[in-house]
């Protein structure tokens, strides 16, 4: 854990208002979810979870096939697919596109993937203005903060914080009524939608048999961003692909329910390619950027691979006793909570994060609510053992380095070297082999090393002694 992280955690724990905000918000999301998946409301919820798990496993285990199928369907519908190894490549594509098309203003629908790759900062550096249009994300953009929660980005702010922010950044009169604040944002963002050259979205699902990008939103910003600008670019992780449009019958039933208890979000857009001949509106150009950014690294790990099933509902955050105390800004990277602890190190390219897997009580609540049945506690345990192994390896190599330093030091000092040899042969000298060390030396790394190996005993007389004896004899 870095000092800044530790400080952030302490700050969060000490801030009573913030504690209350996190506790209330996550608590409300939990109870809404519970009502929406109750036996009498959705009797086949457990069956749907099982099916969702099977479908995701199948899609991930055959990912290359479905990526290629998705790509060929997008192309068949007049769109283009771009692969990006990392955030820089994904951003470069957008920057080049903007230059080619003379685009300066981009409207964005909510996307954790673009947060993951710091897309906004990269675009801004090139003089492009990206505007977040989800209300919570817009507030976060004005505040220069990253989202506090996967589905509730501004969870930690009050209406008074928002009032201050709007006054400061938008130059409007201070307004503390939430409904009116929403109207202010609507008016500002409506103009951006109408003026934007490019609309950027994420994707909740990529449908392989259709070449379609599926986006779910409540505010309608997803529809606006993919309808009004002349160009639509969707940016999605490669793991978002599902085999068939018909599989949405499973996923759409569990996604919103698990997130905030809605049976289905207000808007679900199923978008396949640009506007077609005869259609009146919609974008003229349609691009999908398929992002790796560490995902193939996760894919190579048989056990952790299942973390790629995640559909970003946020349920594991809401149910995590640790997240509920330390909040969303205490985690490194943009994905907080239990699932974030697993995927963040891989996406950031860090092999082992020494504290993330320990930020869990292993109570199992996350696995119980995960709609795609990711075995989160099991993966956290595996990560813990990796951390411990890595520490052990680190200690061992430190001892080894130290021994060689002592050796080198002694080698440069013949007297001392000889003395050590003398002591050695007194202690371990004789005929035959050393199979075991004396009790005193048998613990620790040397003992472990010798447990698999035998050493010849040290000769009674060293080379130097023999040499000296020989020279003496020659002189005589």
């Amino acid at each position: 854990m870095t000092g800044a992280q530790e400080q952030k955690i302490r700050q969060t724990l000490d801030d009573a208002n913030l504690q209350l905000a996190i506790y209330t918000a996550t608590g409300r999301l939990m109870s809404h979810r519970k009502a929406a998946v109750a036996e009498d409301v959705l009797p086949d919820f457990q069956e749907l979870r099982t099916q969702a798990n099977l479908l995701k496993r199948h899609a991930i285990e055959n990912l290359d096939h479905y990526l290629e199928q998705f790509e060929s369907q997008v192309v068949a519908h007049g769109g283009k697919v771009i692969y990006a190894r990392d955030g820089a490549e994904a951003s470069e594509f957008l920057i080049d596109l903007a230059k080619k098309k003379g685009a300066r203003l981009m409207v964005k629908s909510k996307s954790m993937t673009t947060e993951e790759i710091d897309l906004n900062e990269r675009l801004e550096r090139q003089g492009i203005e990206p505007v977040e249009t989800d209300l919570g994300e817009y507030i976060m953009q004005l505040a220069h903060e990253r989202p506090y929660h996967i589905v509730a980005p501004a969870l930690h702010l009050t209406r008074y914080d928002v009032a201050d922010l709007f006054t400061r950044k938008l130059g409007v009169e201070r307004e503390t009524e939430i409904e009116k604040q929403t109207k202010i944002a609507r008016a500002v963002l409506r103009q951006k939608f109408l003026a934007a050259d490019i609309g950027i979205s994420g994707a909740n699902f990529l449908v392989a048999d259709s070449g379609a990008v599926v986006i779910v939103t409540n505010e309608g910003n997803g529809r606006m961003a993919t309808t009004l600008p002349r160009i639509h670019v969707a940016i999605a992780g490669i793991e978002k692909v599902i085999p068939r449009a018909q599989d949405l019958a499973v996923f759409l039933k569990i996604l919103a329910r698990s997130a905030n208890g809605q049976h289905i979000t207000v808007y679900t857009s199923f978008l396949a390619g640009p506007r077609r001949e005869g259609e009146i509106d919609g974008p003229e150009e349609f691009y999908v950027v398929l992002l790796d950014n560490g995902r193939t690294r996760l894919l190579a790990d048989r056990e952790k691979r299942q973390s790629l099933y995640c559909i970003r509902c946020g349920a594991c955050l809401n149910h995590c006793p640790v997240y509920r105390k330390v909040g969303g800004h205490s985690y490194p990277g943009v994905y907080g909570g239990p699932i974030g602890a697993i995927i963040t190190p891989q996406y950031l390219g860090v092999t082992h994060d020494p504290w993330l897997p320990f930020a869990s009580s292993l109570c199992g609540a996350c696995a119980e609510v995960c709609p795609v049945k990711i075995e989160i506690p099991k993966l956290l345990l595996a990560l813990r053992s990796e951390v411990v192994q890595a520490k052990l390896r680190d200690t061992q190599s430190r001892i080894e380095r130290l021994s060689f330093r002592v050796w080198a030091w002694a080698m440069r000092r013949p007297r001392i070297y000889e003395m050590l040899g003398f002591m050695g042969s007194a202690l371990l000298g004789g005929e035959g082999w050393i199979r075991r060390l004396p009790k005193l030396l048998s613990h620790g790394p040397l003992g472990a090393w010798l447990s698999q190996r035998d050493l010849p005993r040290l000769p009674a007389r060293s080379f130097r002694q023999l040499w000296r004896a020989r020279r003496k004899a020659g002189e005589n």
Partner: protein, 210 residues
């Protein structure tokens, strides 16, 4: 090439080879309950009202027209080119503009209109959802830009739910570049989790079943 790089790494990670066919996929899971029309309408209306949408059962196309006329009054509206709206006489209401095929013209109209009037290809009873395919008859903007959306639904298109929709339309992309499901008015709860309706999309929705 990033494409080859990503695909190669994916295959290597999975131990698969180029062109290797996929394992058999889990069978499609669609459950379609038998529900009679009256029950479907009742459920559709209950769900929409639950989300603060308004509903109206029209006995005839003329009744639907009268309802829309009363709602719109003297205010501006844009209607889609759906033949059913013309049949109902809704497209000829005095303040309603219809028959627009040009995107720019439509955009300017929708940005100012108080009402957007559309048909729906389907409605889903169990969630109170409207299903709209983008086409020559239905533009995407009409159900999106104006602050009030009025949808006129033919009772025969009301399905039990998502499963029945996807069994009727297994490949929505073959039909249109855009299929949108609309469930209630646009909403947010991003500030203090207080529900506010009408963020970017319409804050008010009326569903008329004929």
């Amino acid at each position: 090439m990033p494409r080859e790089y990503v695909l190669h790494r994916t295959r290597t990670a999975l131990g698969r080879t180029i062109g290797q066919p996929p394992d058999p996929a889990p069978p499609v899971r669609l459950r379609i309950p038998e529900i009679d029309l009256e029950a479907r309408i009742a459920s559709l209306f209950a769900e929409i009202r639950n989300l603060a949408g308004k509903t109206h059962r029209a006995a005839s196309p003329a009744d639907a027209r009268a309802y829309v006329a009363a709602l719109v009054g003297e205010r501006s509206a844009v209607a889609s080119n759906a033949p059913f709206l013309r049949e109902c006489g809704i497209a000829d209401l005095p303040t309603v503009r219809s028959g627009i095929a040009n995107a720019e013209e439509l955009r300017a109209l929708c940005a100012d209109a108080e009402f957007g009037i559309t048909s729906a290809d389907y409605a889903l009873a169990d969630t109170g959802t409207l299903v709209l395919f983008s086409s020559q008859q239905e533009a995407r903007m009409i159900s999106l830009l104006p602050p009030v959306h009025i949808a006129v639904v033919q009772s025969g298109t009301i399905l039990s739910g998502l499963d029945e929709l996807l069994s009727r339309e297994p490949l929505p992309a073959e039909r249109s570049s855009s299929m949108v499901l609309i469930t209630g008015p646009s909403r947010t709860a991003d500030i203090e989790q207080i529900l506010v309706r009408g963020v970017h999309g319409p804050g008010e929705i009326h569903v008329i079943v004929v």
